[in-house]
């Protein structure tokens, strides 16, 4: 699964640090930040495939960040990190286009499966758009 670029966003520094290390161990490219505004800045300059975003963060929360991500990079898939106290936010997020959710603290195997699924979805979307673009240009 080398080559999947992940952005990890959570205000708990120790959590993102260790989760990041574990995902790197599994062969993913991971960059982590601890605020939504840092995430927005990174997205402007780096190409990510999947963002893993905590729902509950101070200032801009995960749902608002999801909106920003979908506005800036519609094809980037987002996985939400939720707790049972934020089920409604999780639903809200998935309505707004999040690919899936993970209950915190994340089960690594479940998370890896969902990252792969999200990446597959992104690839499919890209393929579909690529084909459509080819068709348009060949019709010109």
């Amino acid at each position: 699964m080398e080559g999947i670029n992940i952005l990890l966003v959570d205000d708990e520094i120790e959590f993102v640090e260790t989760l990041s290390k574990r995902l790197v161990k599994r062969g993913f490219n991971v960059l982590f930040v601890t605020t939504a505004s840092d995430a927005v800045e990174k997205i402007k300059t780096v190409q990510f495939d999947v963002a893993i975003v905590d729902v509950r963060m101070p200032e801009m929360d995960g749902i608002a960040l999801l909106g920003e991500i979908k506005r800036m990079k519609p094809l980037m898939e987002v996985l939400l990190l939720t707790g049972y106290a934020s089920v409604q936010s999780g639903i809200e997020g998935m309505k707004k286009g999040a690919f899936d959710y993970i209950m915190k603290p994340a089960d690594i195997d479940e998370l890896v499966k969902k990252i792969r699924d999200a990446y597959e979805r992104k690839k499919q979307q890209e393929d579909r758009i690529g084909k459509a673009e080819n068709k348009i240009s060949s019709n010109k």
Binding site: T18, T82, V87, Q88, I91, M94, D100, M103, D117, Q124
Partner: protein
């Protein structure tokens, strides 16, 4: 004669290939068709994944609803949160597969979730912000606040009036305070999130780090003051200085996680020892075995909390354990008391050989005493800790006299009755002969099939295996349900014996005394309803439908998974006398109320007009609807394939022109422009189907004895149909395949058939849907073939729905091996059914053809025609 038949047959085949053309086969294909099929297939996989997960979680909720296991509010919140979010994902995938036709389900889920969240509102639930609580204020519903051991002992003290040493609990809120004020939450999470379950050393190292962090932290001043006050109260009530046992009381301990013995305790501690002992005990929450166990159970996501008990130390003269049933022989009627001299630690950890007293539970008589030779005893060291004294000389005096034994047995049975489950009770007797309960928990038996497997003597056992879905005993005349259409005929008071579980059986649950099935697990729709209706039910017996004769009187003992011939006279109490352990507690009430929005299944009949999104009132309804919708949507997916996709021709001699569209690992390796052979097929269901479809016993290329009337019926009917411009049928057949999936569309002659199947290692995912319609002959002959197919499919355990010449059949939730076998049979059936409408000369011949097929006479030869 043979040459005439061959001539007719060749003519017929030529006719099919050339004379009859159908206009719709040249329909242009949308350019993104195959990606649309792939998209739907991925949605199907998602639906199966979430459906399976939700049903498992519903099973867990129902398990807790039985009330005989401890749980807290956090458990309910965690599991309900997962169910809700998974259901949302399920709805999303269903809308993907169904082009957003089911988006009203979102609003249904939101309504349900709003009600559930109201019920889970923490402000209405039992909680405490006290750091310390005396035992007089504790009952079993306070599991979340004080942990399992404290909650149990509080209940025994306050509800049963039995003696428990004077004690107080340091609450889980205190634990929260300790961890928060020492800033440990993030640090603990960091260590846990690094875990690799395959690395034992890594687990041990994480455990060591967490335990060391806790032990090197400071007890918050407010907490220490509260503990000291409570300790002072113990001394005041004793009227003298006391020492205490500091004991773990984890939220999961003694309950469903069976952590007995994993957590620390410290005996005979003084006031000054409490901070160190407290830290040591809460640190044991992160001992390696506990971390490993939780992670394996998939509970790593649920935050752990620890309550602690501070219990006045009893200077025990004798102590030990009571098992209210023999743990090694659940069927026996004995209660066992183990006793050692001095403190009970050596009996609990097995370092001393105890006296063993056996008491007959029903007569209350002591039936056996085995007195041990005592070599040592443990006692309290006045300056703290434990003393071990070696005993010299002959020490074979019994620890207990008969009066003590009988009185203890009576109290133990009182606890068992209160908790409605056999108990494992730690006890001691002090120097004033006062009896104390130190701990009580549900006894674990080694038997996995049933808690208490008991045979009734004098009755013939018909079956002795299966999954117990709902315990209890029921008897009556067996009704073997061969076809779900016969449900309405099941007489009142029958025992229903069916090949497999089906939600349709709910319609008779008020009529039957027990249910037995050949296949099935303990989860799933029918299992849910059997528990709801309280019907004794055993699934996965293997062969009940063949081992039990229709109409014979049987008794189903779903307490022990036995089925007997005749009516067993059982002393078992009716189930409604049972009072579950958690029942009447506020936490149980919350679970019960929340479950009303989750577990009941109202959508049972997919053919009913009320099987629609607007009728979904529970999460189970939504799940069932989505699952059914997904399977139906996939069924039609084959119609979209036209051949303009990257299809591969099958290069196996077959009577159909077959092409394959691989949508995910259905083919081994790269075929390029070569034709596909059997060895290239990686798709499990398609391989199984093709095995049957290419069965060499079926000599489809050879002439069959043919009925001339049938042949001319085909000719005349063909002409009529072409003139009538009826829905035409194409020439090419397509199979859409992946590793676990196939959708086979066969268009041969005038008939159209589809087989849609999923087959992987998860039984609940697996299904086969079969459809057949049409034929070139006159109506009566097409009906005969439909009846033939229905007869064979029923014999193969399919549920069927036949209307005119249209046959629908389905099979759900069978093991992979069984699904493969059924697909093999469907392959044979599809091949044999070609032109069969011409062979069957009368309605009465249908049964002969069904039997011939089932006997392997696939060429339908009369006895004198069979080849040697």
């Amino acid at each position: 004669m043979q040459s005439i038949q061959r001539m007719i047959r060749n003519l017929f085949n030529r006719l099919l290939r050339t004379a009859i053309k159908f206009p719709f086969t040249n329909k242009p294909a949308p350019s993104n068709l195959s990606s649309s099929v792939i998209h739907r297939y991925h949605s199907l996989q998602e639906i199966l994944y979430y459906n399976n997960d939700i049903l498992k979680l519903i099973g867990e909720l129902e398990d807790k609803l039985s009330g005989d296991k401890l749980f807290g509010l956090d458990f309910i919140k965690g599991i309900v949160g997962k169910i809700t979010l998974n259901t949302f994902q399920l709805i999303k995938a269903t809308n993907h597969i169904g082009d957003n036709r089911y988006d009203t389900l979102y609003a249904k889920l939101e309504l349900i979730n709003r009600d559930i969240e109201q019920m889970l509102d923490v402000s209405k639930t039992p909680s405490t912000q006290a750091t310390v609580l005396p035992y007089r204020d504790i009952t079993r519903d306070m599991l979340d606040a004080v942990g399992g051991k404290n909650a149990t002992l509080g209940e025994i003290r306050n509800k049963l009036g039995l003696t428990v040493p004077d004690a107080f609990a340091i609450t889980t809120y205190a634990y929260d305070t300790f961890i928060r004020e020492n800033d440990l939450y993030g640090k603990i999470r960091k260590e846990l999130s690094m875990l690799d379950l395959n690395n034992q050393l890594g687990i041990e190292s994480a455990s060591q780090k967490i335990q060391s962090m806790i032990e090197h932290s400071t007890m918050p001043a407010g907490l220490l003051a509260a503990v000291n006050d409570a300790f002072g109260a113990l001394e005041q009530s004793a009227g003298k200085p006391v020492r205490v046992a500091i004991r773990s009381s984890a939220v999961q301990e003694d309950g469903f996680l069976s952590f007995a013995g994993q957590y620390e305790s410290m005996l005979n501690a003084g006031k000054e020892d409490i901070p160190r002992a407290y830290k040591q005990v809460i640190a044991s929450l992160y001992c390696p075995s506990a971390i490993f166990y939780l992670a394996h159970k998939g509970l790593a996501g649920i935050e752990q909390k620890m309550g602690v008990g501070c219990m006045k130390m009893v200077n025990a003269k004798t102590a030990g354990i009571i098992y209210t049933k023999d743990p090694n022989d659940p069927g026996s009627t004995l209660l066992l008391i183990n006793a050692v001299m001095g403190l009970g630690k050596s009996a609990v950890d097995g370092t001393a050989t105890p006296d063993v007293y056996a008491i007959d539970r029903s007569s209350g008589q002591i039936v056996n005493k085995r007195i041990a030779q005592k070599q040592s005893m443990l006692s309290l060291n006045p300056s703290g800790g434990i003393l071990k004294t070696m005993l010299s000389g002959k020490n074979n005096e019994p620890c207990l006299d008969d009066g003590q034994i009988l009185s203890m047995a009576e109290k133990a049975l009182q606890i068992e009755k209160h908790y409605n489950a056999p108990q494992d009770i730690e006890w001691c007797i002090d120097d004033k002969n006062e009896f104390f309960i130190l701990q009580s928990r549900q006894l674990k038996f080694s038997s996995r099939v049933a808690k208490d497997r008991k045979k009734y003597d004098g009755y013939q056992i018909l079956m002795d295996k299966g999954n117990i879905v709902c315990p209890g005993i029921g008897s009556g005349k067996a009704f073997i349900l061969k076809d779900e259409k016969d449900i309405a005929r099941i007489p009142l008071g029958s025992v229903l014996v069916a090949p497999h579980p089906s939600p349709a059986l709910v319609r008779v649950m008020d009529r039957v005394t027990a249910i037995v099935t050949d296949t099935g697990g303990i989860a799933g729709h029918m299992a849910t309803m059997a528990r709801e209706f309280n019907i004794p039910t055993i699934t996965d017996t293997g062969t009940a439908t063949s081992a039990i004769a229709d109409g014979e009187v049987i008794t189903v003992d779903a307490d022990s998974a036995y089925i007997y011939r005749g009516t067993v006279q059982s002393p078992v109490k009716p189930k409604n006398t049972v009072t579950p352990l958690m029942k009447d507690t506020p936490v149980y009430e919350i679970l019960r109320k929340v479950s009303r929005y989750i577990t009941p299944l109202n959508l049972t009949d997919p053919m009913s007009k009320e099987f629609g999104p607007e009728f979904c009132t529970t999460i189970h309804d939504i799940t069932r609807y989505c699952h059914e919708t997904a399977i139906s949507s996939m069924f039609a997916v084959g119609n979209e394939v036209t051949g303009n996709e990257p299809v591969i021709k099958v290069g196996i001699p077959l009577p159909v022109d077959l092409y394959v569209l691989d949508i995910g690992n259905g083919i081994h390796g790269e075929l390029r422009n070569r034709k596909m052979k059997m060895e290239n097929i990686a798709s499990v269901p398609f391989h199984a189907f093709m095995k049957g479809f290419t069965n060499s016993d079926i000599r489809w290329w050879e002439p069959r004895r043919i009925d001339l009337k049938g042949f001319f019926s085909v000719l005349s009917s063909s002409a009529t149909r072409v003139l009538d411009h009826e829905n035409p049928i194409g020439e090419r057949s397509y199979a859409i395949i992946s590793k676990d999936y196939m959708n086979f569309n066969s268009r041969v002659g005038y008939h159209f058939s589809t087989i849609d199947a999923y087959c992987d290692d998860i039984k609940d995912n697996n299904y086969i849907t079969f459809f057949f319609q049409g034929g070139a002959s006159e109506d009566v002959r097409r009906l005969r073939r439909a009846n033939f197919l229905t007869g064979v499919l029923n014999a193969l355990d399919f549920s069927t729905d036949t209307k005119g010449d249209r046959v629908m059949a389905y099979l759900r939730k069978y093991d992979k091996g069984i699904i493969e076998h059924k697909l093999d049979m469907l392959g044979r059936l599809t091949l044999c059914a070609l032109h069969l409408d011409m062979l069957m000369t009368s309605d009465s011949s249908v049964d002969w053809f069904v039997k011939a097929f089932l006997d392997g006479n696939y060429n339908f030869e009369l006895p004198n025609q069979k080849k040697a």
